[in-house]
């Protein structure tokens, strides 16, 4: 296991080391020993058939879940243990802190809150953080304007097209300035025109801000636009 000083020189922003994940008392093995390093600013596509373990890997990389065995490291810090450095010499970061400050999620079904309009939906990650309401609104507005949604700021999710909803979801994922953007089939519910637009936006964000982009997709043509492509089968990386 790396020491903190060794970790500081790690080339990876995210690293998984021999990670296993099982469910239902080990009867279902979703990941069977996965190791992977992702460099800062990388654009990684993860593909695989349904049940291959690609979404489980994304959840571990995004701090939504913890591995049954192995470790996930963000900038050399172990994700998912209590804060401090009492984990065999490896500093750690707790899941909530990691998700709030370093990771942004984009889902296939957008998951916007129906009672809030576009502008309010984007502010939700910042609620309860002590930030000023005016600052929150300004930040959300700027992101939505950047994503071409200025005329739709006060529309509710049901009043937006699928492509617009996904753009609102992207703005929400970006609002806390994450270092890592994790997208789970972000174009899965979109037509080809909107899919292309969303992929273009994601590529622009990755290029402009140097955000690390990790995208799960079953579409190999989309995966081909990524810098790197990892294919999964039966809980293992197979390429």
């Amino acid at each position: 296991m790396s020491s903190p000083s060794a970790v500081a020189t790690s080339p990876w922003i995210l690293e998984v080391r021999d990670v296993k994940k099982s469910y239902e008392n080990g009867t279902i093995e979703a990941l069977r020993g996965v190791s992977l390093g992702i460099a800062a600013g990388d654009f990684l596509a993860i593909t695989g058939a349904s049940g291959s373990g690609k979404s489980t890997l994304l959840h571990l990389l995004g701090g939504l879940d913890t591995p049954t065995e192995g470790t996930v490291l963000f900038r050399g810090q172990r994700i998912g243990k209590s804060s401090g450095s009492g984990n065999g010499g490896v500093a750690s970061i707790d899941l909530d802190t990691y998700r709030a400050s370093s990771a942004g999620f984009i889902f296939q079904s957008f998951h916007l809150l129906p009672s809030l309009n576009a502008l309010e939906n984007v502010q939700v990650p910042m609620l309860g953080t002590g930030s000023h309401p005016r600052d929150r609104e300004d930040r959300a507005r700027a992101l939505l304007v950047e994503l071409g949604l200025e005329p739709r700021l006060h529309q509710y999710p049901t009043q937006l097209s699928a492509g617009e909803r996904q753009r609102v979801a992207i703005a929400r994922a970006l609002v806390n300035e994450p270092k890592v953007l994790l997208a789970d089939e972000p174009t899965g519910n979109l037509d080809s025109v909107n899919s292309a637009k969303i992929l273009e936006i994601l590529a622009q964000i990755q290029a402009r801000h140097g955000t690390t982009l990790i995208m799960v997709t079953h579409d190999l043509s989309i995966a081909a636009t990524a810098h790197r492509h990892v294919a999964m089968r039966d809980g293992r990386i197979c390429n």
């Binding site: 959840h59 995004g62 939504l64 879940d65 909530d96 802190t97 990691y98 998700r99 709030a100 400050s101 990771a103 999620f105 889902f107 998951h111 809150l113 129906p114 009672s115 809030l116 502008l119 309010e120 502010q123 939700v124 990650p125 609620l127 309860g128 309401p133 005016r134 929150r136 609104e137 929400r172 806390n176």
Partner: protein, 375 residues
Amino acid sequence: MRLTFVGFAWRNVWRRRLRTALTLCGIGMGIGAFVALVGFSRSFEHAWLEMYQNSGTDLAVVQKTFLNTSVDQSAGAVLAGIPQIRIAAPMIINMMAVTPEINTLVYGWKADTFEFAALNILQGRRFRDGQQEAMLGELLASSLNKKVGDKIDLQGSEFTVVGIFRSGSALETGAIILPIDEMQNLSSMTGKVTAFHVQLKPAPPGVTAAQWKQEAEDAVEKDLPGLRAVPAAERASNNQLVVLAHAAAWGTSLIALLVAALGIANTMAMSVFERTKEIGVLRAMGWSRHRVMFLILMEAAALGAAGGATGMLLGWAALHVLATLPQTASIVSTALPLMTFLDGLLMAVLVGVLAGAVPAWRGARLSPVEALRHE
């Protein structure tokens, strides 16, 4: 409009308008019952205090026991001999039916008691001892449509109305006052009274009023074992009628509040279940378990507060209705103490938070991945 944490909580509550409205009705009924019942019992206590204060009563001499409330009238002679006491007026209080629908407080007083000082006789005159004569509070006289010279039947005995009076206390303005000897006959209390209302002499120089009163209390207990002298303010809050009214009010209110709490708990549990996926999204966006829990608790508290406000209006309206009904007008005052409103609001928020605690805990412990998979 800028999104705030509180605003977000309220939007979540108001999303299911019908369910929220029905829950508010439930909480409103509970808090309304609390405001009406506890408000009634507190205003009842306040009316007693007013009655004592208006008449200038310093002490009430009563039995030490709670249920056996009669005192030998002969104790009056002993009281008259206690140096601190200026006058000790025997009195009886009871409740009687004046019509099949209307029960009212009936007092037995001596014709020369100092307590008449608090009354303003609007028509007629004071009664005479030993005569079947009655004085009616103006509210009761109006309800019964009685005037001076009319007859009134009490427990089979006919009394002539000789006076109509006004009083600052709700307990008197809807009541009847009879000569104490007639009241003893009606109540089968010959030689007995409910209490002596005592006025003290002015404290001598060098003795404080409190010391003077304490000396009088000690003298009563020394000279009349089995009896105790209670300051008027204390008597107002711990006489049998007030104690029973408080107990009944709080008991009934707590049951109503429990029902309201179950309503909130049910609503919040449903809400958390329906929003499982949303909670997963919040957790994915970095919301901690504590922040999710706080949000749900705030929603429950908002529901409680809104229900509390509804309940206060209902309770206030109920008191006003009761105050106009002839059956209850004599013992209900619409003057609702501010404390009852504050207690009601606090109680509503507390009930909301307690009822929301379990749903909040369940919501907060959801794993983000499991919550996002929820259908």
